[in-house]
Symmetry: C2
Subunit: 243 residues, 2 copies
């Protein structure tokens, strides 16, 4: 095993090591014999003591990802091996396409003031009111994404919870308000979960979240809405197809 530099001083080493090994599974990087190198070797590779490696392995053991046998060695469990063999990375990752329909839980429709960024994009005064929709998309038992739409009051007022139960926001804008949609721009980045986001996505505060800011304008270039969508790590992919 090659040398691996763990240089994040914040997270305790035994967690980092456990997570690093788990990542290897996700990336489909397991050796053919599915064996995990002996503790001494791991200790050398990560530059830590054997005691620390053992703690890391205990974490994986507790999650039933590995089995250890005295005198023999440490191996990935059958479950893990099957997982990497058959479907790599994407097993329990569902893919979210822009237009996809899934179960949507309506959180709130409200009147709020917008941040500077919202006001600037929608080209209104900072004292203006916006209609703000908050929704969480669910895929089965798990929250998948959290969406916050900001619309100028004159657009937003006409849109009801009921519209959004049957249509996407973009469809509603077109059919209910008769807006002819123009450019849609996505800006994708990693941010950290706020208290609010963490709660909605059932993750921890400050966990990394895939954040997509979507700016929608109509055919004549006038801004229509600005949307933030948040995805939890390791659960879903965001897919865009260009022709």
């Amino acid at each position: 095993m090659e040398k691996i530099r763990l240089d994040n001083t914040r997270v305790p080493l035994h967690y980092q090591i456990a997570e690093y090994l788990e990542d290897m599974v996700r990336r489909g990087e397991l050796r053919i014999d599915d064996r995990i190198p002996p503790e001494e070797n791991l200790a050398k590779a990560f530059g830590v003591s054997r005691t620390t490696v053992r703690r890391a392995l205990e974490h994986l053991d507790a999650k039933s990802l590995i089995t250890r046998k005295q005198g023999k060695g440490t191996y990935w469990t059958d479950d893990v091996r099957a997982l990497t063999r058959e479907k790599l990375a994407g097993l329990n990752k569902q893919i979210f396409s822009v237009s996809e329909k899934t179960a949507v839980k309506f959180i709130s429709k409200g009147v709020e003031y917008g941040s500077r960024e919202v006001c600037r994009y929608l080209d209104v005064d900072e004292s203006a009111e916006f209609i703000v929709f908050r929704r969480v998309r669910w895929a089965g038992e798990e929250p998948m994404s959290y969406t916050i739409n900001y619309l100028p009051a004159h657009f937003g007022r006409a849109i009801t919870k009921d519209h959004l139960r049957r249509m996407t926001m973009l469809e509603t804008l077109e059919s209910v308000l008769g807006i002819r949609l123009g450019t849609i721009e996505h800006e994708v980045e990693i941010t950290r979960a706020t208290d609010d986001i963490a709660e909605k996505l059932a993750i921890n505060v400050r966990d990394p979240v895939l954040t997509i800011k979507t700016s929608v304008s109509d055919k004549s270039g006038r801004p229509v809405e600005i949307v933030w969508t948040y995805f939890a790590e390791n659960k879903y992919k965001f897919r865009v197809v260009l022709d």
Copy 2:
């Protein structure tokens, strides 16, 4: 200040708190007077002791983000205030559009075997060889993205380091190999930095990275290449415009 649930047990609380407060700046969430609540209040809001809050503030102090005055209070420094006032979140975040040209450092061109995923997409046998290009895009002094292209050997062989100095890979495919490009699909997700990625992007192992898997096929639907692009957190945004 409302109550904030820090529930990540791995990272020491004083780091989490410091980072949470720093995030507030990034999100442009500062109060009008730019004052940071007194230590007692912070301690209550985060549910920790004052000692721990003080350690968090020491981190911010060390980074010159705050000034503290005995008897008076704790305030964001002028730098931070200017930053949030003028340009919110995006100040030192550059935006990377799909076609953008920046300084590219060529790392390697090599012959490798592909993972199952690569083989499956490019529709070849697992024993087949691929031409693999590794490049790092720089924006000034900082690495911006790390790209790994997998091409079937018959395409890749004809492409040289020199082509890629003057053109993007897509332009090269079109002009040098005469390929008529069809669909381009992006899959976006958060992954964690491997040793290799961490080195190229000058970040730590297991830091979150914005990962984009791009699959390119030609007009008749035949797969042409598969590409992974990695972005470090907090440095760059990835932008996609749809019409």
